[in-house]
């Protein structure tokens, strides 16, 4: 069995955002593997460890040269090898899904893990778009997974609740917080990861181009009043807050 786990390199969630030259500034900022993708890497490793037959976990990223760091993190967690489709061009989700699908075909992949939402695009689309290109089924927003004899069962979130499901491989699965606890790479594994295979492929080999053009980027700033009240005297603080809500904000009657 071969498992592909797709990794994106994004701004660390704790970093503030600012705009530079019409784009969100990433230079000199802390960039990490998207936390949503860590659940996918972890789940792939768990499936490999629990598999009856030998399984291989391949990490894939599409992005600029620096994305290698995110792939090295996946390798340090335990992925067997990595592929970086290198490009500096801004691509949209639909374009990236074509790269992922082509890579999955050429690597003869049985199962693909992707984050349920990317922390840079705020997109939910990569999993479903990839599945459509491969004509595979998809299970999105999974919170529990078991694989037995090529049948994947688990639980996932849907409109207004959750569902248990069963689906035969090959399939695309998107992950979320709560699916598992991603492991921390140990120092020996970080050292080992430096020697693992990381293949670079230029984007032009995949013949894709963006369908969306970004025409404006703006940091969403809402001026907040940041009116802080000391709560030592609970009664007085509560009275003040209720008064502010009533007369200043006008949100309660």
């Amino acid at each position: 069995m071969r498992i592909l786990t797709v990794v994106r390199q994004v701004l660390d969630a704790e970093e503030s955002v600012s705009i530079q030259d019409g784009n969100v500034a990433l230079e000199g900022r802390k960039l990490v593997m998207d936390t949503m993708d860590e659940y996918g890497v972890e789940e792939a490793l768990r499936l490999r460890e629990g598999a009856a037959a030998p399984a291989e976990v391949i990490a894939l990223a599409v992005g600029p040269a620096r994305t290698e760091e995110a792939l090295r993190s996946a390798l340090a967690m335990g992925a067997d090898r990595a592929i970086l489709v290198e490009t500096d061009a801004p691509l949209d989700v639909i374009a990236v899904s074509s790269v992922v699908a082509q890579a999955a075909r050429s690597e003869q992949i049985d199962l693909i893990f992707l984050g349920g939402q990317q922390a840079d695009w705020d997109s939910h689309a990569l999993g479903a778009a990839t599945a459509e290109r491969l004509e595979w089924p998809q299970a999105t927003w999974t919170s529990a997974l078991t694989l037995q004899d090529g049948m994947l069962t688990g639980k996932h979130d849907v409109d207004g609740g959750s569902e248990s499901f069963a689906v035969a491989l090959p399939a695309v699965v998107t992950t979320q917080q709560g699916l598992n606890e991603p492991r921390y790479p140990t120092l020996p594994n970080i050292m080992k990861a430096k020697k693992k295979e990381l293949r670079r492929v230029p984007l032009k080999d995949y013949g894709v181009s963006a369908k969306l053009r970004i025409v404006g980027v703006e940091v969403q700033v809402k001026e907040r009043r940041r009116n802080i009240i000391d709560g030592k005297d609970a009664g007085a603080a509560a009275a003040k807050l209720v008064d502010l809500l009533r007369h200043d904000a006008g949100v309660i009657g």
């Binding site: 840079d120 778009a129 998809q138 569902e163 053009r213 809402k222 940041r226 949100v251």
Partner: protein
Amino acid sequence: MILLVVEYSNGKVSKSTLEMTTAARGMGREGPITLLVLGSGVASVAEQAAFFADQVLVADKPELAQYDPEVWASAVAQIAREGEAHTVLIGGSRSGREYSPRVAVKLDAPLIEDAISLTGRSGALVAAHYTFLSRVTETVEAEGPICVVTVKPGAFAAAQPANAAGEQYDAELDLPQPRLRVTGKTAEKSERISLADADLVVSGGRGVDSPEGFKQLVEALADQLGAAVGATRAIVDAGWRPYSEQVGQTGKTVQPKAYIAVGISGAVQHLSGMNKSKFIVAINKDANAPIFKIADYGIVGDVHQIIPAMITELRK
């Protein structure tokens, strides 16, 4: 034509459908607004929908009794192709955002997700949407004969019905078999007003200390205010509250007039689900909690004392 996929629940057209109608009417693109109703036993949904459209296409089939991403994508793409739609509007619900990418790939169309504004401009569609965990507003332009758009719930006002109903037609569809087998469902119900519809939201986090603390503080305050109840991922994961109440990156996004955060420290993933609220009120014992940075009013203090005091004050 502009094709709009109707969202409904319990036989009633959802607010999101009316919001998409507003987006469709206001985007300045030519062509009739066509509403598509997919489901089984959906005659009354189609009747309601007809007052918001030039025409309604209805696919009322037993095979459509249950939502499936592949079946829905196939149906929408077929109708869009046959009707030569230039814009396909799909709700920004979990399911809408799950099957819309398949529609875009089938139609070789660009996909705009979670649009908060939408304007047609000389052959191109321009839309704004949030990125970077809702901290950035990005404007994108899509060219080409057809574009698929999901519309963010709450971003557009609900449309008013027309005086006369549009014509209804039966849609002929060739549907695939679903491959994801659903083996069980856990629906989450609440007696309270839903998070999506509420003007006021009271949310709780770890600072309420226990499931009982949540009831005594968050639920009690919400009931006093007639507010909806929300929760952080941490306490949903801990099993204190149902997933349906989760606010944040992997839960619901809310935009109420006031959001009251009780014992919530303010992880960025939570903030991305509520940072568009008109007013944000936070009560937390840690003066350095990140929630205070985006709060209009904050109380640094013990939620176990302040919330009961607020309830007493409100009852006065």
